[in-house]
Symmetry: none
Subunit: 120 residues, 2 copies
DNA sequence: ATAAGTTCAAGGGGTTCA
DNA sequence: TGAACCCCTTGAACTTAT
């Protein structure tokens, strides 16, 4: 139908109108905010059913667990620099350098419910 | 190395198409701008991991700290030879350190994640 | 011709508040 | 919860300098 090149782009999670790429997936403002908040809280969500609730524009609010799951399935994730091979601390000798690198509590990651990522 | 004009010249930092030499290294427009801006700001970037993130065309935005590191490794520098301008690699002093590092001179500066926007 | 600097629209993450 | 807004970073295109 939409023949225009700037045809409506729909949210990869709920199908609503997408506003752009958010956390690596084309999503609407709603799912963008939902994902940000949820990941930040890092709480565990549980689907009261079988983890297969439908997630569309009208029902997306009904089951956060399934919505989050769909977000992840859509490829959403906090920006995690891809940790290449196993990190080889180049500066192992420099006390100063290593000290901060390793003891830093910011050393947590991977899509995880990590609190703060590489962000402002 | 690449002295042939027909050969595709790729950015020494991210592999994207290079547009020429910028700050003494063959780089793309993106890394050129990134380097200029970053050095100018002179803020400390901190990698949430271990300063070993992959830096390619698609991921270069994810970890500014590692991107800057790779710029330096590629030989980029402001024309002013005065070392006071750019960060002083903690590892440069140690031969061993440099030797073990998979790339070359890795450093890690930490002016604290104060207000920096280490973020893509 | 090259490389350094400048401009500016787009991208995208965070915050606010109804 | 999500629309609206804010603001920083990017990078392509352009201008200036050598």
């Amino acid at each position: 139908m939409a023949s225009r090149e700037d045809e409506v782009r729909s949210c990869a999670v709920c199908g609503d109108r997408a506003t752009g790429y958010h956390f690596h997936a084309l999503t609407c403002e709603g799912c963008k905010g939902f994902f940000r908040r949820t990941v930040k809280k890092g709480i565990g969500l549980t689907c009261p059913f079988e983890q297969c609730c439908e997630v569309n524009k009208n029902q997306r609010r009904h089951c956060p667990a399934c919505r989050l799951q769909k977000c992840l399935d859509a490829g959403m994730r906090k920006d995690t620099p891809s940790p290449s091979v196993h990190p080889q601390p180049a500066c192992t000798l420099s006390t100063t350098c290593v000290a901060t690198a390793h003891t830093s509590s910011r050393y947590q990651h991977f899509h995880g419910p990590a609190s703060d990522q590489v962000h402002q």
